[in-house]
């Protein structure tokens, strides 16, 4: 993507500012533009779109990588705006926020923030008044302060408590208890009791405690929501990269663009060189090579000619092909993979978050303790319901899961922020918890351990003139081997010589004329002699008039830090599960030091390998990128994929990492494990606080002052403990802790902003 290039102007006519005319079909359209990554992009897009006739306003939202455009439907439709974005050099996809279920969530986030603001305002002011009461305000002042507190707190309790009341009612209606039931009960009872105390001017008022309870809990809710919103925006970003169009050839020779889902078997589809095959089909005409890396994991492209079958998702490398579509929808290879994926995914749905597991035990316990306290006081005081109810309410407020509600979201927001800055996108809120539990790791080879692109590893001695002829030939091809050679020569600043009449012979190589001589660059048998091909790589030969002049050895290089990254995961017994040939897999396994590997696996075989390990009680982390890996990614306990992965692969994975370096995998694992340790510490803190505070409350010693202090300190303690994660990751790993886990923390060098 040519980002940050100077703004390309769209539209040949001079830009004319279109006045806003609401009555003539003003439309609002949203686009997902994943390529936005710098201030320059914002300017390019906003100014570029402003010059398009019919566009009234365009606004980039950097946080969500979206562009909101108001345009005059009479002049330009949504598709036209999308095309203008593409012309500016950005991949763009229109999307319907309502359909994506996105708008509703945004409203929810705002509701929570508004409730938080009101709760914060009320808690602050009520606390201010309470401090005077505690420090001994006398009778008239005390009554006045209680009345003012009541007038602030009661409306605020109703407003800010709504998220909890709503959730509690839903839970009760389904006959369940969740954390929100004791919260709602405590808030309502505390409000009513305190109002009673204010009116009768007898007893303590708990307005401050009820208010700060809501305030702290809402902080937890907002953090949790932020975390989910972040995950969701990662998903929409990734989804928007799906290829959706195909070029269909009509009987009369004309062509039109059609959405992939509208393809019908029997249609003739043209696939240009470099384009992705949109549907399963049979080649009707043309000769080319097909790169099936993302589909089968095979690293070397295969030649195809008329009559051969090609699968959706493969990439056409050399020359245009015309396909007859043979299968669409449910009949394709892709649909088969998706079926396998869905079957494999069911296990993951059973995963319960730590917070929910805690709530299952905690909520009934809280109710039971409060009820027992009430009954106990009724019994000992001989039926003084006012005193008994006060104790029960104090118990509910004290035991309320302030710290528990913050314990998990605070840690997770900090952790996902660390991952995001290191170029790792978290797609699922529970992925961090699942990642921390992984005790086995399985890798795909092609595109995951390797880069998926061959590089020149060796070249025989060559003269300058020959090199420039090679550059002239190699630059005219999209074949990965030719691209690798061209890249090497570019790095050496070789100037390409003009080579004429270049033709590309699928499965063999390139041929052309240079200074009146026939030059060829291709497989050894095609260009000249037979040579020994290295076990895991390919060889290229450059020949002039049939005489071999230069030889190249190429290989799909492993990622630069693959051995190191895999070595750091040694405690998880890494395995390679690949669909590639045995020799290629074996060589890679040897190079990065993995003892166990399997080759030639089908998607179902990979799932079987993962379920085998799961059946043995292990929790597998799967790292893969291909369409063939997708079912295994879904079957694994937790999964990661590089951003270069296939659409299906990225969708199936829980985490997606950007950049070249594989140390994103041990890094993410390390962050997840530290996050889990902090969550557990936070739970321990919260439970410890309850052990101290609950007996006080049950004994009737929890005055409003004690309640306020206990609640605030435990919440603040838990939040600071969560922030420690950031500090820990910045400092690097403590060597002792890292040794326990078999992983160490080295932040990946892949930065999002790069």
């Amino acid at each position: 993507m040519s980002c940050c290039a100077a703004g390309t102007i769209v539209g040949e006519s001079a830009p004319t500012p279109t006045p806003a005319r609401p009555e003539t079909g003003m439309r609002h359209s949203d686009f997902v533009v994943p390529g936005i990554h710098c201030a320059g992009c914002i300017r390019t897009i906003e100014q570029g779109l402003a010059r398009v006739p019919g566009v009234v306003s365009a606004r980039v939202n950097f946080s969500t990588r979206r562009v909101a455009v108001d345009h005059d439907a009479a002049v330009i439709d949504a598709e036209g705006v999308g095309a203008a974005l593409v012309a500016l050099g950005y991949e763009a996809r229109g999307f319907d926020p309502a359909q994506a279920g996105d708008m509703g969530e945004d409203v929810r986030g705002r509701d929570l923030l508004r409730a938080l603001a009101v709760a914060g305002f009320a808690a602050g002011n009520v606390m201010l008044l309470s401090v005077s009461v505690w420090s001994g305000a006398d009778e008239a002042t005390r009554a006045l302060f209680h009345w003012i507190s009541a007038m602030i707190a009661l409306p605020a309790l109703v407003f800010a408590g709504r998220p909890f009341f709503r959730s509690a009612v839903t839970a009760l209606r389904h006959g369940r208890l969740n954390m929100d039931v004791p919260i709602a009960l405590a808030v309502i009872l505390a409000g009513a009791m305190s109002l009673h105390a204010t009116i009768t001017d007898r007893g303590d008022a708990y307005f401050d405690a009820a208010m700060s309870l809501l305030f702290f809990l809402l902080i937890g809710r907002v953090l949790d929501h932020m975390m989910r919103a972040r995950a969701r925006s990662a998903v929409t970003q990734l989804m928007s990269l799906w290829a959706t169009d195909a070029t269909v050839l009509e009987a009369d020779g004309s062509s039109r663009r059609v959405k992939v889902q509208d393809l019908v078997p029997g249609m003739a589809v043209r696939v240009a060189a470099g384009e992705r095959v949109p549907a399963d089909g049979r080649v009707a005409s043309g000769q080319s090579e097909i790169d099936a890396q993302l589909v089968t994991g095979e690293s070397t492209p295969g030649a195809v000619a008329a009559g051969d079958v090609v699968h959706a998702g493969t990439v056409n490398l050399l020359a245009p092909l015309v396909l007859t579509v043979t299968a669409v929808g449910n009949d394709t290879f892709l649909a088969e993979v998706i079926r396998l994926m869905e079957a494999a995914e069911s296990g993951r749905a059973r995963f319960v978050r730590i917070a929910d597991r805690a709530a299952r035990i905690y909520a009934p316990a809280v109710h039971l303790i409060a009820l027992l306290a009430f009954a106990g006081w009724m019994f000992t005081t001989g039926g003084d319901w006012h005193a008994a109810l006060t104790v029960a309410v104090a118990t509910l407020i004290i035991t309320c899961p302030c710290a528990l509600g913050l314990a998990v979201p605070a840690v997770h927001v900090v952790a996902s922020g660390i991952l995001f800055r290191s170029g790792i996108l978290l797609k699922d809120g529970t992925a961090l918890e699942r990642l921390a539990e992984a005790d086995r790791v399985a890798f795909d080879k092609t595109g995951t351990l390797t880069r998926g692109q061959p590089v020149v590893t060796w070249m025989s001695a060559a003269g300058d003139e020959e090199l420039s002829a090679i550059a002239g030939l190699a630059r005219q091809s999209r074949h990965p081997l030719a691209v690798a050679v061209a890249k090497l020569l570019d790095e050496r600043d070789v100037v390409a010589a003009p080579v004429e009449h270049v033709s590309e012979l699928p499965g063999r190589g390139l041929e052309g004329w240079w200074r009146g001589r026939c030059v060829r660059l291709g497989k050894p048998g095609f260009a000249g002699e037979e040579v020994d091909i290295p076990a895991a790589g390919s060889a290229l030969v450059f020949a002039v008039d049939g005489q071999v002049a230069v030889r190249f050895a190429l290989e799909d290089r492993v990622r630069p830090d693959a051995a190191e990254a895999v070595g750091r995961l040694a405690a998880l017994e890494p395995v390679i599960l690949s669909g590639d040939r045995a020799e290629a897999v074996g060589a890679t396994a040897q190079r990065i030091g993995v003892a166990h590997w399997q080759s030639g696996l089908s998607p179902a075989d990979k799932v079987a390998a993962i379920s085998g390990a799961s059946a043995g009680g292990h929790r597998v982390l799967m790292v893969g990128d291909g369409i063939n890996d997708a079912p295994a990614l879904a079957a694994a306990h937790v999964s990661m994929a590089p951003a270069s992965a296939s659409d299906v692969g990225r969708t199936a994975a829980d985490l997606v990492f950007l950049g070249e370096r594989l140390d994103a995998v041990p890094f993410a694992l390390d962050v997840a494990r530290r996050a889990r340790r902090l969550v557990l510490q936070n739970f321990a803190l919260a439970i410890g606080y309850n052990i101290v505070a609950v007996p006080l409350a049950v004994m009737g010693e929890a005055s409003p002052l004690v309640a306020a202090i206990a609640m605030s300190t435990s919440s603040i303690l838990v939040t600071f403990n969560a922030l420690r994660l950031r500090w820990m990751m910045r400092r690097g790993a403590g060597a002792d802790e890292a040794a326990d886990d078999g992983v160490t923390a080295v932040p990946p060098h892949a930065r999002l902003a790069a």
Binding site: A39, F62, S63, R110, L113, I148
Partner: protein, 46 residues
């Protein structure tokens, strides 16, 4: 006591101003794109 009658409304008023400012900011979309706002600083035109 006279001080209280004067100071409490002042405190409440200042708090309410803060709350109002926050809700206004929320409503006018200033929390929609915090990352973008950080980067727009770098653009000198507009």
């Amino acid at each position: 006591m006279n001080g209280l009658l004067f100071l409490i409304p002042v405190a409440l008023f200042l708090g309410a101003v803060g709350l109002g400012a926050f809700i206004w900011a929320l409503k006018s979309g200033q929390f929609d794109d915090p990352e973008g706002a950080a980067r727009r600083i770098l653009l000198d035109d507009e």
